[in-house]
Structure formats: C-alpha cells, structure tokens
Symmetry: C2
Subunit: 206 residues, 2 copies
C-alpha cells in the first residue's frame, strides 16, 4: 500500500477514508489521553490495535503525524462549537463576543476534561504544527467575516485597514485562543475573555 | 547569622545590603546564563564563589530564591526601560504606545541576548513567582496612571469602569509582556505590538 499517494493531511499516507486510519487515531486518542503524547510509542499503538508498527507507518509517517491528527480533531471540535454559537447570533457585535467566549470556554473544557490531549494541542500551537496553523487560519477567516459584516451593517468603523484590524484582533485573542497561552489564563475564563471582547468591540466602534 | 530577620524579598535571608548576597547573585547570573537554571545547583554556585553551601543558605532559603533575585533584576531592567521611555512622552496616547513597544522590544532583547535568563523569567511568569507578580502589578500601576492621565486630558473615553479598562488592557498586552507568551510572538515584535497598541488606543478613544 506504500505506493498509494499521500493524503493531504500532514504526514498521513494511504487512502484518506481507510477505516484502519480511524482505528489508529482512536487507539492513539485513548493512549495519549491516558499516558500522554511523550510516553506513548508507535509500538504501544500497534500493540493496542493488534497490527505491526510497519503497518501503522503505512498510514502515518511518524508519531507526530498521529499527534497532528489527534490535535486537528481536538481543535476542530472548538471550531465546530464556534460555528454553532455563531448561527444563533444576530449581529456582528454579538458574533464577535460569542466567538471569543466559545473559544475560551470550549478550550478550557478540554484543558480540564482531557488534560493530556490539551497538552498536545498546546505543544502543537507552541511548535506551529500544521494542525494549529490551520486552526488559527480558520479562526482568522471567521473574524474577518464578522468584521466585514459589522462594517457593512454600520456596527463597526471602516477607517482601519481590514487586514490590520483582523491581525490585531487575532493577537489580542491569543491569551484565550492559543492553548499554549490559555493555560496561564484558565482562571480568567469566562470574565477576562468577556472583557477582552468588550475592549475589541470598543476598538471597532464607529 | 541565621537569627537575623528575613529580608522582604521572597526567600532571601540576612541583611539586605550584604555584599555576599551580591556575590551570590553575580555568580548565579553567570552560571544560569551559561548552564541554565535547571542544571545549576547551589553547590555549583558555592564552588564558584568559594563558600560552603550552608553559607549560601544563610542568604537564600532555596535555589528558587536565587532564581527569584535574578528574575527580579531582569524584569526590573524592563520596568526601568519603560519608565525612561515614558519621561520622553508628552501625551497619554504616546505613553501607552511607548509602554507596549518598550516592553516588547526590551523583553525580546533579553530573549535573544540572554536566552537562559529569559527562560527563568518565562518560568517565573508561568509559575506566578512573586518576582513576576510584582512586575505585572507594577506595569498595571503604570497603565492605570496613563489611562487616568488620558481621561483627564480628554484623550480617552471615561465611560468604561477604569478597573475593567486596565484589566482588559493588561490581558491584551500579555502576548508581548508575559515572557512565557512572548516567546511565541518574537517574530511579531515590534509591528504586532504596535498594532495591538493601536487597537487599544482605538478602544480608549472618546
């Protein structure tokens, strides 16, 4: 199977929808949750599923690639929570506030309920793994669409270049969005995140 | 000397102005800079100065107390740079901008020129050592005085409760102020810090 084209996800190999891939990810999720990323080897995962290490390497080029898959899944759950929260919001103002609140609360829940997976996400963000870069890019796109919507509706000012407004907003959201930083701000959720959203909304006022 | 009153600095013992204390701090600074905090023992420091470990423990109750002293010195250099930068600023607007720029640039210089000392500062901020808590408190005081000055001069709005405005500003300054977070933003200095200062100034506009 090693002559199959690499899938688009970082470090993944073989057909994207193969059920073996899901089995490996499920086993990794369980092992990483229990023992942590650092202490789990590809051999441990192979043993848990009953395959050889070599067979696992047909689907993932390294342990990091498996970590990436877990991390993408974890960060995608935050993005899904954000998208769901936004469908219920009527104004751009409300959307921006809900965006940051949902990111902060949803990520904090991972920190408390699934500490070892959170550690992978924090490590991924600290090391700029593709999974976390994609996550940040997706959030920046959502922020851009909210700012544009607020500019169109007259809720937000239009003088600041849109790129700068979004870049600066993403920077000040970092302490609640980047798991590597949020770990120092868990006590400030949700009040601190709410106050930061208010500050950003004041900065966007016409 | 062990019956002397403890000095006010965390974990320091004996008379505050004793030259032995300075010798220990100087030796620790050199050792930590070269080998890192984790790899330096109190025995290494004792050997470097030619004293016994027991004698060093008459001045510092633990290695962390020595780390605290180094960290305080390092963070105090940033505070001094900020205070100097502010004396040249005429308006509250200019002061706020210079404050964040100076923090970001000055802390980034430590990261590049004295990496191992920076690691102690980052660790101190991550672990809320008194040295870093004092540093943040001092910066919050400076931010408060700038916001009050800007409110008095009519540069800044007065509707937001002052405590909230300062708290939120301190939160959004974190990615450039907290060494544990700045390490992920070194590439964004000084432009990103400048854009964050602009965002905060827009939020403070009347």
């Amino acid at each position: 199977m090693s002559d199959l084209p690499a899938s688009t996800a970082a470090g993944q190999r073989g057909p994207a929808d193969h059920s073996i891939r899901d089995q490996i990810i499920a086993a990794a999720d369980e092992h990483f949750s229990r023992y942590g990323y650092g202490k789990t080897t590809v051999a441990d995962l192979a043993k848990a599923i009953g395959f050889s290490k070599a067979y696992i390497y047909k689907f993932f080029e390294s342990k990091q690639a498996i970590g990436e898959a877990i991390c993408s899944k974890c960060l995608a759950s935050v993005t899904t929570d954000v998208r769901n929260a936004l469908t219920e919001s009527k104004s751009a103002t409300e959307k921006l506030r809900r965006l940051l609140n949902t990111i902060a609360v949803s990520t904090t829940e991972i920190a408390f309920n699934d500490q070892k997976i959170y550690e992978i996400a924090a490590y991924s963000c600290a090391e700029n793994w593709p999974s976390s870069v994609n996550y940040v890019d997706e959030m920046a796109e959502i922020v851009t669409s909210i700012v544009l919507e607020g500019r169109a509706s007259g809720e937000f000012e239009r003088k600041t270049p849109i790129d700068e407004a979004v870049r600066a907003t993403m920077l000040v959201f970092q302490p609640f969005m980047n798991p590597a930083m949020l770990q120092y701000n868990l006590d400030a959720v949700p009040e601190g995140a709410n106050e930061v959203a208010s500050l950003v909304l004041r900065s966007l006022a016409p």
